[in-house]
Each structure stands twice: as C-alpha cells, then as structure tokens.
C-alpha cells in the first residue's frame, strides 16, 4: 500500500564514519604500539651490539698497530745497544744489518742511517742516495737528539716520499749519536687500510695536528667532523675507545670510532656510514614498516567493508521497523475505529429499530377502515415506505460497520481461487453490461489451492470489482482480472481504466470512512474491510493508480503453509 510517511532521518554516514574510525583505532593502535616498542628496543640493542663490535675492532687494531711500532722500535734499539757507533758507521756493516733486519721482519725497514750529534749522516744503507746528508736543520732531528727514541709523524723528507722514521739515540765517547730507520709506508698503511667493514667502513690514522698519517680509502676532511674533538679528549685509560654518531659535511650520518695510538700522539679513526653499519636493522625496519602499512591497509579495508555492511543492515532494520511501526499504527487505528464503529452501530441500531416499528405500527393502523378513504392515503403509504427503506439502509450501514469491527471470521477452507473469481465475474457481469464495461480475465491455470476463508475472500474481490465498476459507471471501460503465482503468494490483479485516484487520496483509501462517492452512496468502509481481511490472511493489498489512466489493485494472498489449521466457528 502506498503510505510512505516521511522517514525518520537517521544520520547513517556519520554512524558509518564513527564505526570505521573506531575499528581502525582499536586495531591499528595496538599494532603500532607493539611494533614501535619492539623496534625501539631492537634499535637500542642493535646499536649497542654494533658499537661494541666496532669498539672491539678498533681496540684490536690499536693494539696491533701499537705492537707493530713498539716492535720496530725494539728492533732498532737492540741494534743501537748491540753495536757501537764505530761499527755502525761502517756502511758495509750497516748494509749487513739492514739485510739482516729485512730478512728477519720482511721489507718493513726501508733503510738505516747513522747520524752524529751535528746532524751529519755518517753512514747510510738503503735504496736512496742519502749518504753524508745533513739533517741538522730537519725537524725530526731536533726531537730525535733530545729524546732517547722517537717515532716520527709521516713526512716527505729529502727523498720526497711520505714516510716515517724510528730513531734511537745513544752515546759514544760523550757524544750523542742517532740510528735512524725508515719504516715502509706501504706496509704500515696496509695495517690500517686492511680495516674494512661493510661497504663504507674504513680506518685511518691522524696526528694531533690533524694531519693524515695513512692514506684513507675515502676522502676525509680532517678539519671537519669530530676528529679534533677526539684529540681534545684526555686519554683516561690506555684502551679507551670513543664512539660518536653524527652527520658529516655531506649530510650523511656516520659512526666514528677513535682510539689513541703511540702514547696519544696519533689517533686511529674508524668511520662508517650509519646506514651501512645498521643495514640489517634498516632492513628489519623496512620489513616492519611494510607489514604495518599492509596491515593498516587490510584493517582499513576490513573496517570499511564491515562498516558498510553494518550501516546497510542497520538502515534496513530501521526501515523494517519503521514499516512495522506504520503497520502497527494502521492496525491500531483500524482496531480503535472498529470499536468505535461497533459502539455507534449498537447505539444507532436500537433507535432505528424503534423508528421502523413505529412506521410499521402506522402502516398497521392505515389498514383500518377509517383511513381507507383518506385522500392522502397514498402519500402516507409512500412516506412510510420511504421510512422503511431508509431504516433498512441504516441497518445495512450498521451491519457493515459491525462486520468491519468484529472481523467476521469464517471457516478456513480450501479455495479454488480461479473458480471463485469466475463466479464473481459472472455475478458482476449484469452490472458491468449496464455500465458498458467489458470484463477480461487472465487467470494462470493450475493455481494451487488456497487455505483461506472463501466468504471473506469473496467479500474482498466483490468489493474491488464493485469499486472498479463504480469508477467506470459513466464512461464505460475495461476491467482486467488476473491471477498468477509469485513466490509464496498468489497475486490477483483488478485493473480498471477509469478516472484513477488522485494522489492526495491514494494514501487514504484504506482509511475507514474515507470515500469519494456521493453522500449516501458509500460508507467508506469497503476497502478498509478488505485491507483488514487480507492483512489477517497474512497477505498484502496494494494500489497503483494514475489519474485518467486507471487504477490497479494487487492482492497478494499467501500460499498454504504447513501449519495447523485453526478451525474457526462459522458465523452466519
């Protein structure tokens, strides 16, 4: 039926958004929290591990290099203590010593020189032509003559090649003399250069002035970076290793690990890109992020799906509830109107009965002789007849009202719907002819038997047919009756091509006492009763109408189900 009331507007989109938000928040928050905590802890412990590893590495090499220097110094010291200035001043003897050293320790020692207190090299053994060179003005000589032994920084010297030297001072006849050994720079460089970790990890040595003592694998800017800060730090313990992480001049984050060598003169620096050092961690981080993002996406889409479904379900339930509410209101309205109608019918019935009896009494009296000759006898008789007719009409109305109110239950029986409809069409045929209406039928054969009250169903369809005929009374037209099975229902259509029902009236046609017929022609109860009967059967009655085109009523009657049949005592 067409009673679409203004629907209560529930804000479904807001509800929907709230759902999504809650689901996402509840699911993603713990995921992010757990992942965050685990990643943080992992990050910390991994950093510690890497730092410890690098510190160990640097410390080991520091000891290695220190050991190397001490050993070389020891070699030369042994040489100075074992042989006298005189012996060593002999160049051929010196050459033998060099060969001996090179044989014993490899080509680490490049050359040997013996220098007197004036800085004159009295003897030289080695690949360069440095015999009788005067070192009195060389920087290293001044230091060497003052100290018992010296390991110099790297310098170019007379030969024009980077190298460093080890000197040992001794006395001969009251004069200081020095034996000097050049350490092979390449061999030394390899000690440091071999420290390689990952792709960007490398090491080098620099002195306190920030000058590089070995050739670093990559470019290093000694005046930038933390190197000088390392220099300033006081050496607390011999094996102290310092670690910092900071950005270099190119904006890359580096790890710097530093340890002092040679009693604090040199600094062994190991540096590596942080991204390289923590590459394992980065990889784990990337995987974790990928999982979080994928999980987030999955959660979001699930939230969206679930919320959509839920919103849809809620909307549908609301709609169903609304429809049910409307039906309840409708039923309630009809019921209350029914009670009212019953009351009115009773109240009216008695006075009408009295009136009719009084009229009957007058009729009885008119039979008597005295009145037979009365000149107005005909008029009296006409008036009384009219009273009786109108009284009967009142009775009809009250009967209809009462039948509406009391839901005339009839016995439920098996009904051949098509046969019944044919009968009704036959009954109505005479009236249709007067109104110039042709009735066409289009019934689906082999309809299943219905288990309903035949008389009630007759009442419904007779009512619909009569309404249709009334509508087409003046114009004539066509009445189409049809029946067919649709799902669990039999649908009967009663279609006319009469004037149609105005939109404003369409929603009211099932209301009791609503009628568009002339006063006295209709009670406005017919469709209301039909509605009640069909609803009681568990069916539906629906109307579609277009003004000037026609009106179609669809009655849906449920097919018999496997349920216990209620035997209702027939009335009348």
């Amino acid at each position: 039926m067409d009673k679409s009331k203004e629907t209560k507007t529930t804000d479904y989109p807001a509800f929907f958004r709230k759902r999504i938000f809650i689901i996402i928040a509840v699911s993603i928050t713990p995921m992010i929290l757990v992942s965050g905590i685990i990643l943080y802890q992992f990050n910390r412990s991994y950093h510690e591990k890497v730092h410890a590893h690098l510190a160990e590495l640097v410390l080991k090499h520091k000891q290695n290099i220190d050991g190397f220097l001490v050993e070389k110094l020891g070699n030369i010291r042994v040489l100075a203590k074992t042989f006298s200035f005189e012996e060593l001043s002999d160049e051929s003897f010196l050459r033998d010593r060099l060969e001996m050293l090179q044989r014993g320790y490899g080509p680490v020692f490049v050359d040997l020189g013996v220098i007197n207190s004036q800085g004159l090299q009295v003897a030289y053994a080695g690949p360069f032509k440095l015999g009788k060179a005067l070192y009195s003005t060389a920087g290293w000589f001044e230091t060497a003559i003052k100290n018992e032994y010296v390991i110099s920084d790297v310098f170019l010297g007379l030969r024009g090649l980077p190298h460093f030297i080890v000197t040992v001072r001794d006395n001969w006849k009251g004069e200081s003399w020095i034996i000097r050994a050049t350490i092979d720079f390449v061999a030394f460089n390899n000690l440091v250069g071999n420290i390689r970790v990952g792709e960007t990890g490398f090491a080098f040595i620099m002195n306190r002035e920030g000058e590089l003592q070995t050739k670093p694998l990559f470019d290093v800017m000694p005046d930038k970076g933390p190197y000088l800060e390392f220099m300033k730090t006081k050496l607390k313990e011999k094996d102290d290793v310092q670690i910092v992480e900071r950005k270099d001049a190119f904006g890359n984050k580096n790890i710097y690990v530093a340890a002092f060598l040679k009693g604090g003169d040199w600094l062994l620096v190991y540096q590596q890109r942080a991204s390289d050092a923590f590459s394992d961690f980065r990889r784990a981080l990337r995987v974790a992020f990928a999982i979080i993002i994928l999980g987030g996406l999955a959660i979001t889409s699930m939230a969206y799906l679930l919320s959509t479904r839920m919103a849809y379900r809620v909307a549908r339930m609301d709609k169903e509830r609304q429809m049910m509410d409307e039906q309840i209101v409708e039923t309630g309205k009809l019921a209350s109107v029914g009670e009212l109608a019953a009351g009115i019918a009773h109240e009216i019935n008695n006075p009408v009965a009295i009136m009719v009896e009084e009229a009957g009494w007058i009729e009885d009296l008119l039979e008597e002789e005295d009145f037979k000759e009365g000149k107005n006898l005909d008029e009296f008789e006409r008036a009384l007849k009219q009273i009786r007719t109108q009284g009967k009409r009142c009775k009809d109305i009250t009967y209809k009202l009462l039948s509406f109110a009391r839901k005339t239950d009839s016995r439920i029986q098996e009904v051949h719907l098509n046969d019944m409809l044919e009968e009704l069409v036959a009954i109505s045929a005479q009236r249709a002819r007067y109104s110039n209406v042709t009735i066409n039928t289009n019934f689906q054969s082999n309809l299943p038997l219905l288990e309903v009250s035949q008389s009630e169903l007759q009442q419904v369809f007779l009512n619909l047919i009569n309404n249709a005929l009334d509508a087409m009374e003046k114009t004539g037209g066509k009445l189409e009756m049809s029946s067919k099975v649709e799902g669990d229902y039999v649908v009967v259509g009663v279609a006319d091509n009469g004037p149609g029902i105005a939109k404003a009236n369409l929603s009211r046609i099932f209301d009791p006492f609503f009628t568009t017929k002339q006063v006295g022609k209709g009670t406005g109860l017919g469709l209301s009763i039909c509605y009640g009967i069909i609803k009681k059967m568990g069916g539906e009655i629906e109307v579609r109408s277009t003004v000037d085109v026609g009106t179609t009523f669809y009655v849906r009657i449920p097919l018999a189900k496997e349920k216990e049949k209620e035997e209702v005592v027939a009335t009348t």
Binding site: H346, N349, N350, A353, I354, E357, G360, W361, T398, S403
Partner: protein, 145 residues
C-alpha cells in the same frame, strides 16, 4: 387454535410499547418485561406462556442468562432471540442452550409472526407428546397391575 400467549422482553421501553401494539393487532396476547428478572417473575405468574421474545443485549442480567433461567424453570416455554448483528454469536449460543430461533433487529413483522406461530405449534406438540406419554405410562402401569 387458541391465540398464543407471548412475552416480550427488552430494555428499550418505546420498542416494547410499539411491538405490543403491533402484536396485539395481530391477535396475540402479549405480556411485557423490561429486565430478565422481571421476565422470570412474570413467567412464574403466567405459566401458560407459549413464547418468549427475548432481546439478547440487556443491562444487568442479559439475554443468555435469562434464557438459561427460563429453560431451567420452564423447559417447555419456547424462546425466540432478538439480536443486533453484533450479537449473532450470542444468539447462536442461545440456540445451543435451547432457544427456538433468532431474529435480527429491526425485524420484519411477518417473519416474527411466522416464528412465533412455529414456536407455539412446537410447544403445543411437545405438550401433546408429554400428555400422550403420561397416558401411556398410566395405561402401562394400569396394565401391569
């Protein structure tokens, strides 16, 4: 045949008055009562009443209860129920309880007359049968002795 003695029971005084006039005009002797109790009392005085025309819907003791009492006290008296449409069920119940028939208000006078006549005839037949039975009984008793 003797004119039937009819009692009309209804709480609507004007209805009763008019009906009495119309029924008397049709040669019936009519007693009236406006409540169930009144009807029972009156019947106690007029045991020869043939038919009671009884309205189903009355205040106080209603038609059905009155009918039960009548049938208990005066089983031979026939009762025609008079009802509005809404109380058809009670009319049917009444018939189960022994009422002769029912009519709907406002009723057609001819119909009412027919029912009253039929009811009266039935009552008379009953009375006849009872008489016959008594005679037979008396005879048989006599015969045995």
């Amino acid at each position: 045949m003797k004119t039937p003695l009819v009692m009309l029971v209804d709480d609507e005084v004007p209805f009763v008055e008019t009906m009495v006039k119309r029924l008397e005009k049709r040669n019936l002797t009519v007693l009236t009562a406006f409540t169930g109790n009144e009807a029972l009392e009156s019947l106690g005085k007029h045991r020869n009443t043939d038919v009671v025309i009884l309205d189903v819907k009355m205040p106080g003791m209603d038609g059905i209860e009155t009918l039960k009492e009548i049938k208990k006290a005066f089983p031979l008296i026939e009762v025609v129920m008079l009802t509005g449409h809404a109380t058809v069920e009670s009319a049917i119940e009444g018939m189960k309880l022994g009422a002769y028939d029912y009519l709907m208000k406002p009723c057609d006078m001819e119909q009412l007359m027919t029912k009253v006549d039929e009811a009266t005839r039935k009552k008379k037949e009953h009375e006849e049968k009872i008489k016959e039975a008594r005679v037979k009984e008396a005879l048989s008793v006599h015969g045995l002795e």
